[in-house]
Symmetry: D2
Subunit: 93 residues, 4 copies
């Protein structure tokens, strides 16, 4: 079944952020390779984690405004909300 996609509006913004995160992870790899100071690496890891959370929140918002809202309007919102909660549980635990 084709899934209608609702983050199109945010797509460029998301791709840009993900490219930046990929670069940050590569930077952390380089820091470890060059024996950089642990605390600096840890601060960098915390920064990437925040950036990933931000991407997750953008997607969550698009998904809720898109798929979830549409499912609710078409009166089969229950599964959509259940699915949303399952994925939220992975973020909040």
């Amino acid at each position: 079944m084709a899934e209608p996609i609702h983050y199109v509006r945010d797509k460029e913004r998301l791709l840009e952020r993900l490219r930046k995160i990929e670069g940050q992870v590569r930077g952390i790899h380089r820091m470890v390779e060059n024996d950089r100071y642990c605390v600096d690496i840890l601060a960098q890891i915390a920064a990437v984690r925040s950036a990933l959370n931000r991407v997750g929140l953008i997607l969550l918002e698009s998904h809720t405004r898109g798929c979830v809202a549409r499912s609710i309007r078409e009166d089969h919102g229950d599964e959509a909300i259940e699915e949303l909660m399952t994925v939220l549980f992975k973020f909040i635990k």
Copy 2:
């Protein structure tokens, strides 16, 4: 001042994990590019976040066993512990 590095023992393991994380982030980028389903992307983001936390914990352990322990033995542990807490605060908040 040169910082003595204490994650040497874990270095290969860390680099391997970071390479894998970089690949996962690239995979998420591709998922967004190909308009994949939000919930699948979100699950993938949660997985990368866990993988990053794991890397953070390995570094934290190396850092505590190494730099922090040495500072304590040389009787100037206070700054090392303060620095450790500052970085922990970025992870736990």
Copy 3:
């Protein structure tokens, strides 16, 4: 304005969990008072945090199934979703 409440179905379950959490916090207070071992107290704090997250997820689900779904059906879902995201941001950061 009266807010229609949608966690009625879960209300007893939520109150029960909150009573338990209150007891756990009181237990932690007692542990500190009695100079119990830090690591045991920390484990207890992590447990309460998980229990609170669980309550948060139950409320999130009720709220989404209730208020948010109703707002969407009545075609003014935008503010409800924005509000939902603002509160999610406090949990995932």
Copy 4:
């Protein structure tokens, strides 16, 4: 074996914070009881979670400055650090 306690200095501060957290949890219980708006309750839960994290960080710092540092100075730091990491893992995951 009796565990020497090292958060004595912070004890009053910790007990005060825990008393406040207990009151906040009781407040959340009351909000649910009175059918208060979900989003307000969720914001309150996020606040308690932050307050608990703060208590956890104070304990972590006391524990590291106290028990862990002493163990390291007495040349049996390995178990203390391992234990510290196990409890950190419960916070960061």
